[in-house]
């Protein structure tokens, strides 16, 4: 009897999950199908609106071209994310410990929030040329801010009981930082990193819009300028996938590193 009930429950759960999956994906699938068959039915030529299958076909048959440009953009994003992110976390730690910086530099940087960093793209191109360098530096600048602010907030809003505990064990500050403060700030840092991945891809692509001969953003711009619709759509699709992968990696790291973190018990 008991096993039957368990089985029934399992089936129900399976059905429910299946049902939910269908509901989750239905609109997306419907949209893609409508796009595919609608375009085919109306006999719209590919240079006006390419079908999904034509886009896939284009990517597969010109894969060397797309891989090359994707790698350029991905390289800019990864370099900018890692260096800019490390810089942000490191600066936050220094600002946290040095009181004078905490009162001067930090609010000054916080005020700079109103300057949209992406608007600096033409300046960066002017300074550092239209190669990879200007993009990496812009992505670094964009990534720096959310990580600085989130790390700093995490360090400040730590549970005092943890600090007390460390003090009562007589831990030196270096160990306190490594074993207590930074782990406690990790949920904040991770939140900042997730946002940073999204912003980093936007930064790299927009900088490529402004001036570049290579990278996904450049492919989109040149293709639309020459009315190569299929190529533009393909580059856009790849960009969307790239940013989803980056965000997915950030979410995965978050789940992996923060398995111990329960959002409900630390408001």
């Amino acid at each position: 009897m008991a096993t039957n009930r368990v089985k029934a429950f399992r089936t129900n759960r399976f059905v429910r999950t299946l049902n939910h999956t269908v509901q989750y994906s239905s609109l997306l699938i419907l949209a893609v199908l409508t796009w595919e068959f609608g375009v085919a039915y109306a006999e719209i030529p590919a240079f006006i609106l390419p079908r999904p299958t034509i886009i896939v076909d284009e990517i597969v048959s010109n894969q060397a071209f797309y891989v090359e440009n994707t790698l350029i953009t991905v390289k800019e994003v990864i370099l900018g994310l890692l260096v800019g992110g490390a810089f942000g976390v490191f600066s936050a730690i220094i600002i946290f410990y040095v009181d004078i910086l905490r009162r001067t530099l930090y609010p000054f940087l916080a005020m700079n929030y109103v300057v949209p960093k992406i608007a600096l793209a033409p300046l960066f191109v002017f300074w550092f040329g239209d190669g990879t360098m200007s993009k990496v530096l812009l992505v670094m600048l964009i990534v720096f801010f959310p990580l600085l602010v989130n790390t700093f907030t995490g360090l400040v809003e730590i549970d005092e009981a943890l600090i007390e505990l460390g003090r009562s064990f007589g831990l030196p500050e270096a160990i306190m930082l490594g074993k207590i403060r930074l782990p406690a700030a990790l949920p904040y840092i991770s939140t900042g990193f997730k946002l940073a991945t999204v912003l980093a891809v936007i930064g790299a692509v927009v900088a490529e819009f402004v001036a570049s001969s290579e990278g996904l953003g450049a492919v989109v711009v040149t293709a639309t300028a020459m009315a190569q619709t299929t190529r533009a759509f393909s580059a856009v699709v790849i960009t969307l996938i790239v940013s989803l992968v980056f965000y997915g990696v950030a979410v995965f790291l978050d789940k992996r590193l923060l398995f111990w973190y329960d959002e409900s018990d630390s408001g």
């Binding site: 916080a110 992406i118 793209a121 002017f126 939140t191 946002l195 402004v210 619709t229 960009t239």
Partner: protein, 266 residues
């Protein structure tokens, strides 16, 4: 699941400004002044004014060309506001739809996730390809960029309606409209204002990038011109005007927030 985190993600950004609103940050302003003076003196000493112009020169340039900056600044501001208003409406309607039905919510969620985690702006050149660099183009980009924060926050507000209120309104057979005005709206509004603060900056960035892609008008256009003509003063001037617009819009939303949410005396 994943969408919920996004609210926190974006919620941190305006926090940066709120941090200094609590009291006047004298030290930060002094620090800013010191940075400006160092910039002014240092650039001259190093002899790199062609590369990095002096703040006084940038200011002078903006005043000399005030007509140009006013004209393009106004166009950027106009589209930012258009986008915010329409984007907020779209976001609200979507939030109400998804709150009304769990099925619609699930159907919408992958699309919503997609619009959050991907650089929406990348489709800007494609939109130009279809409709050209028209006003519709700028408005479309802005709706796309601005609706998300409003949608997320309105949804959060709708989920925050307490069960007692919901049951009470069901019990009295309150009409949808009455329920919306008296039960849902008071819960949504605080979140909506928070969302609007995020949207303001996003919309502004959206207009600038849209202007990069289709350099026809606005401060993004001035930036591109400055880049083409190798004129750092024009680029810095545009960035300064953009920052001023961002700050002004943010403060306006902040003031409206204080007026609208009177019952939340904090």
């Amino acid at each position: 699941m994943a969408q919920e985190t996004s609210v926190e993600l974006e919620g941190h950004l305006p926090g940066m400004l709120d941090w200094w609103r609590r009291r006047i940050p004298v030290e930060a302003i002094l620090f800013g002044v010191v940075v400006l003076i160092l910039w002014e003196v240092g650039v001259d000493a190093l002899g790199i004014t062609l590369f990095l112009p002096k703040p006084s020169n940038i200011l002078q340039f903006v005043f000399e060309n005030n007509g140009l900056f006013a004209k393009h600044g106004f166009l950027t501001l106009k589209f930012t506001i258009y986008g915010l208003v329409i984007g907020a409406t779209v976001g609200m309607v979507l939030a109400l739809l998804t709150a009304a039905s769990a099925v619609i919510d699930r159907m919408m969620s992958p699309l919503v996730l997609l619009t959050f985690t991907t650089p929406k702006i990348v489709i800007a050149p494609i939109i130009v390809l279809y409709i050209g660099t028209t006003d519709t183009y700028f408005t479309l980009i802005l709706i796309l960029v601005a609706f998300f924060a409003i949608y997320e926050n309105a949804k959060k507000g709708l989920e925050g309606v307490s069960r007692e209120f919901r049951e009470l309104s069901t019990l009295y057979h309150a009409s949808y409209w009455f329920n919306f005005r008296k039960v849902q709206m008071p819960s949504i509004l605080p979140h909506l204002m928070a969302g609007l603060k995020v949207s303001v900056m996003q919309a502004l960035i959206g207009v600038i990038v849209a202007e990069f892609v289709a350099p026809r008008q606005g401060l993004g256009y001035l930036l591109m011109i400055g880049q083409n003509q190798q004129q750092p003063r024009m680029m810095f001037g545009s960035v300064a005007v953009i920052a001023a617009i961002g700050l002004t819009l943010y403060v306006i939303v902040d003031i409206i927030e204080g007026q609208v949410i009177f019952w939340r005396a904090t």
